[in-house]
């Protein structure tokens, strides 16, 4: 007999008023009992949303994608480029410094290998520290070590001192690469991660081109020599000093302006700081639109466990704890992927770094013959009496062209990484680069050599980008830096072996190192077929 009217209060989301009336025909006095019930649903829902804690992926999506990520890309990219410059500056100065420091081919192999030895020592160590203490601090320290000792190396008058200082600088470089990639990937939303990591890897190419360009400008010029005390400061020493400027400036920027990684902060239970970082991201990304910042809570994991970890002063305990992540990388369910990545990193580093560091030297040899291995009959004594000055600029021009041909490969990966997925790109590009190295050995004329080297550089950059993306995606956060550091270390062993093999054999049996590189790249491509697929899955 009563007509009841239900109304709901209108909040942010307007709902249709539910009007349920039961009209009885035989009720003349319907006005007597009217119940109006207001339901205040929406204010409750609003309060609930404020108390909801967001997971890491949701918070990153919430913070948006815009100016902050662009700035982050530039800063991290500059640090990546400084690594490339430090590693490659040695290979560019080899043809010239050989006479000044009296180097045989074996010594050249040792010099290029020493950087990688330093990186191996530094790589795992810095990666582990970054997982414990935070990415940003580690980055600042390692970049500073890198720059300072690189610059000091320019003052070394004898070979052994130069070798030692480059080794220490290498220890600094070893920290940047694994930590930078972990740091950068932890700011990206899932759908953009592949493309952004490829974009970061593009800056390696930029560093390569920068080093090649600097070498082309500075080393052949005769006006850059002067006498500093008892040291004849040749143009290549000036080149070494210039090469350390990017890493020093990068360390400066990181120390002043960059935030700590939010995923790391969340994993260690520092929720307030993580919120602050997300707020900053949001502010920079949403300039111009009036959206309010709506994250109020974050899901932090293992907050209690972290409090019970005290700094272990006992060295043996620290050492054992340091090896823990390596053990964890090889226990299930990560065993299969770790073993395959081990093989791939070794093969790709042996091939790429072994060949790449020797390109300027090999180009110099193609000047006289057709292919790099044409002048095998020269005994090593006659090459010492060769005059290094005046410097042949064509060598540097070819180095520059080879570095520039990385660009199409990089563009290719940025566009296709999130579509095709890292695994397919990795195995195809490794197989292709193995084939191209084989042709570098097999061709007869200088121009063809240059073309095949350009092809090699374009294809191998695709494989490096794919490898970076895959190895970032395959490991959980608390192991990511350590895993990257470990595998980069394995890669260093490959790079050292590659350089030493080249140094020992390039004068006598030049075919062997080149063919070995080709075979290893090919095998790496085959091994990559066994990796799990990680296209666009969540960061663990």
């Amino acid at each position: 007999m009563s007509r009841r009217i239900f109304e709901e209060a209108l909040g942010d989301s307007a709902r249709e008023p539910l009007l349920t009336t039961r009209l009885d025909d035989s009720s003349p006095d319907s006005d007597t009992e009217v119940e109006v019930i207001f339901e205040q649903n929406n204010t409750n829902a609003f309060e609930k949303r404020e108390q909801m804690k967001l997971s890491y992926e949701e918070a990153v999506e919430e913070a948006g994608f815009g100016l902050f990520h662009g700035l982050l890309l530039v800063v991290c990219g500059w640090a990546n480029a400084s690594d490339a410059v430090e590693i490659l500056c040695v290979s560019f100065l080899l043809p010239t410094a050989r006479c000044d420091l009296q180097l045989r081919s074996v010594d050249m192999g040792l010099l290029t290998a020493s950087i990688f030895l330093g990186m191996m020592v530094g790589g795992y160590f810095w990666g582990y520290l970054a997982d414990q203490r935070g990415r940003k601090t580690v980055l600042v320290i390692s970049l500073t070590v890198n720059g300072v000792f690189g610059a000091l190396a320019s003052l070394a008058p004898i070979f052994w001192l130069f070798l030692l200082l480059r080794f220490i600088s290498g220890v600094g470089v070893g920290g940047s690469i694994p930590v930078i990639f972990s740091y950068f990937s932890e700011f990206q939303p899932r759908t953009r991660r592949g493309a952004m990591i490829s974009a970061l890897a593009t800056f390696w190419m930029a560093g390569n081109i920068l080093a090649a360009g600097l070498a082309w400008l500075v080393i052949p010029s005769t006006t850059a020599r002067f006498v500093l005390g008892s040291l004849d400061f040749q143009s290549w020493r000036l080149f070494v000093v210039l090469c350390s400027i990017p890493s020093l400036s990068s360390a400066f920027v990181f120390a002043l302006a960059m935030p700590e990684s939010p995923k790391f902060l969340m994993e260690t239970g520092r929720e307030a700081e993580a919120l602050e970082v997300f707020r900053k991201m949001f502010m920079l990304n949403q300039r111009g639109s009036a959206k309010p910042f709506s994250i109020s809570g974050l899901v932090t994991m293992s907050g209690c466990e972290r409090n019970t970890e005290k700094a272990s002063h006992h060295f043996a305990q620290f050492f054992k704890k340091g090896l823990d992540p390596i053990r964890l990388i090889f226990t299930k369910p990560l065993t299969a992927r770790s073993v395959v990545l081990l093989i791939i990193f070794f093969c790709i580093s042996f091939g790429y770094y072994g060949l790449w560091m020797w390109f300027p030297e090999l180009f110099k040899r193609t000047e006289s013959g057709g292919s790099p291995c044409a002048n095998v009959s020269h005994p090593s004594s006659s090459s010492e009496s060769e005059n290094c000055y005046p410097v042949k600029t064509t060598v540097y021009m070819e180095g520059f062209v080879t570095a520039a041909s990385n660009l199409p490969g990089n563009i290719f990966t940025i566009l296709l990484m999130d579509f095709v997925g890292g695994k397919i790109l990795l195995s195809c590009s490794l197989l292709l680069s193995g084939i191209s190295v084989f042709f570098i050995w097999a061709v007869k004329s200088k121009a063809q050599s240059l073309v095949m080297s350009c092809v090699f550089s374009a294809v191998s950059v695709i494989s490096w980008n794919a490898l970076d993306v895959i190895s970032t995606e395959l490991y959980p956060t608390q192991l990511r830096s350590s895993a990257l550091g470990f595998f980069t270390g394995v890669g260093r062993i490959g790079a050292i072996s590659g350089n030493i093999v080249f140094g020992q054999l390039v004068d006598s049996n030049c075919a062997v190192p080149v063919l070995l590189v080709s075979a290893l790249l090919f095998s790496g491509g085959l091994a990559a077929l066994r990796l799990p697929q990680t296209k666009q899955t969540e960061l663990i």
Binding site: F330, K332, P333, T335, A336, V339, V340, I343, S497, V501, Q504, L505, S508, N509, V512, A519, S523, L526, A527, R530
Partner: protein, 139 residues
């Protein structure tokens, strides 16, 4: 001649590395329940004899080229492979048996064996590489 022997053993060593990686991957798939025991064991049993042959080839190569130290290094592994292959119990399907693999921690011991073999083959890879370089320089 020496160089050719080492190049051949280098290639053989690479094949053995790939085989042990394949073993590790298959065994870890079984550990994580991605495949069942029958499929895993039939896959692995197929490759037991090729591994045996590859390892024996490397050992024999070192023997006939008279590199005694490397021969003695390879001999235990080859002997262990042969012993394991010949001592398969009567009712089992092969070295890897699906009914026995989950008993008495056999899965773990097979996994450990595969890891040790991987480490050993990596070590041998470097030894062969180094010896090959020496042989080529001294030619």
């Amino acid at each position: 001649m020496d160089a050719a022997v080492f190049i051949l053993s280098l290639i053989d060593c690479c094949a053995l590395i790939f085989l042990s990686v394949y073993f590790i991957i298959t065994l870890s798939d079984l550990e994580c329940d991605y495949i069942n025991a029958r499929a895993c064991c039939s896959k692995l049993n197929k490759w037991v004899v090729p591994e045996l042959v590859g390892q024996a080839l490397a050992t024999v190569l070192m023997l006939i080229s008279m590199h005694w130290f490397i021969f003695l290094l390879n001999l235990p592994v080859a002997a262990w492979n042969v012993y394991r292959f010949l001592n398969v119990p009567m009712g089992n399907m092969g070295v890897f048996d699906p009914t026995e693999i989950h008993n008495r921690g056999q899965l773990k011991s097979h996994m450990k064996e595969a890891m040790i073999k991987l480490g050993f083959h990596l070590l041998c890879f470097f030894i062969y590489l180094y010896s090959m370089i020496l042989a080529l320089i001294n030619d």
